[in-house]
Amino acid sequence: MVNKIWGFFIISGICFCFITGKLELLNKQILDSTKQSFDMIIQIFPVMALWMGIMNIATVSGLLKKMAYRLSPFLTKLFPEIPKGHESLSYIASNIIVNLFGLGNAATPFGLKAMKSLQAINPKKDTASCSMVTFLVLNTSGMTIVPTTIISLRMLHKSVNPTEIVFPCILATLCATIAGLLLDRILARRYYH
């Protein structure tokens, strides 16, 4: 799947550049990708290290397990595959909470930790488990209560009421999340039965 899309992106993009004669731009784009991805890693890395450290305290002290136990009635409905009280549930919960507050950068480490612990209980290591897909859909539907970047951008452009879009955003996100989860449920059933 990803293989085909990646191939399509590259082949169609390069062919189109040949047709339109934008070879200079193409050269620049190819070389710029390395710098861009490196910059991105450099940006994520320290945040990641910080939260992995904090998360480790929570794991060792047993706080995470306690949290997971509290939240499991709600989360086990969404993730029926995960055994009750498993640590991945608390990572998922942390990821959701931080995402809701619009702190995407801080949410990523929790998400990656969640994926790692989901992988530990995944029987087929090269194939995504159903819980992983559900968790991914939750993240890609972009649930937030406070879209911080957009509010600041609207402030920059001197909006009369920069936060007026918050409630519409919540409604639209909710629709997207529900739709994504529904399709996930329908397609997941097809894979297993």
Partner: protein, 175 residues
């Protein structure tokens, strides 16, 4: 109010975790360092995935192929009563977060943040996320190769998010 709450989340989380660690009498500093070390491995496995995805997306988006196709289809969008500035944003949203943010910035600059298009663009940006990036990041970090229906469900959520944005903004603010 929401802003204030948002600002409290991270400090409170750190306080809670460190406080609980002291209460349970564990060596919080050593445990922190140990955990932070784990990020090295994760970053190393992440870098190739990010590089690959950024390379593909850069070539595709910057080649102008997409904008040319959208230009061709413009009469159709006009017929559907969709503002032509919104379409490239909607299509690019799942692929590239930074380029849609740039598009949003353009829309806010040209039409103003309190116009219909300005509000719609803001809500679209805020109610969906960069599906490709998240898939790369999350599956790449643990070496998953077969992603099953994750992409379809993710893209479907984006599509519904965009449609819902148009409906909600039309209802809330009118055209």
């Amino acid at each position: 109010m929401i802003q204030l709450l948002s600002n409290c989340v991270i400090p409170l989380m750190v306080l809670l975790v460190v406080g609980y660690g002291i209460y349970k009498k564990i060596d919080i500093y050593d445990v922190f360092i140990e955990g932070a070390k784990e990020s090295f491995g994760m970053m190393l496995s992440l870098f190739p995935c990010l590089l690959g995805m950024i390379l593909g997306i850069n070539i595709f988006v910057q080649s102008g192929l997409l904008t040319t196709i959208i230009d061709w289809m413009n009469p159709l969008f006009h017929f559907l009563n969709l503002p032509s500035e919104i379409v490239p944003m909607a299509i690019l949203r799942p692929i590239s977060g930074s380029s849609t943010l740039a598009l949003l910035n353009n829309v806010l600059m040209n039409y103003g943040p309190d116009s219909f298009i300005g509000r719609l663009a803001s809500v679209i940006q805020g109610s969906t996320d960069t599906t490709f990036y998240i898939i790369t990041l999350y599956f790449g970090s643990i070496g998953i190769k077969k992603i099953k229906h994750a992409l379809w469900a993710g893209l479907f959520a984006d599509l519904i998010g965009i449609i819902a944005s148009i409906v909600v903004v039309s209802i809330f603010f009118g055209r």
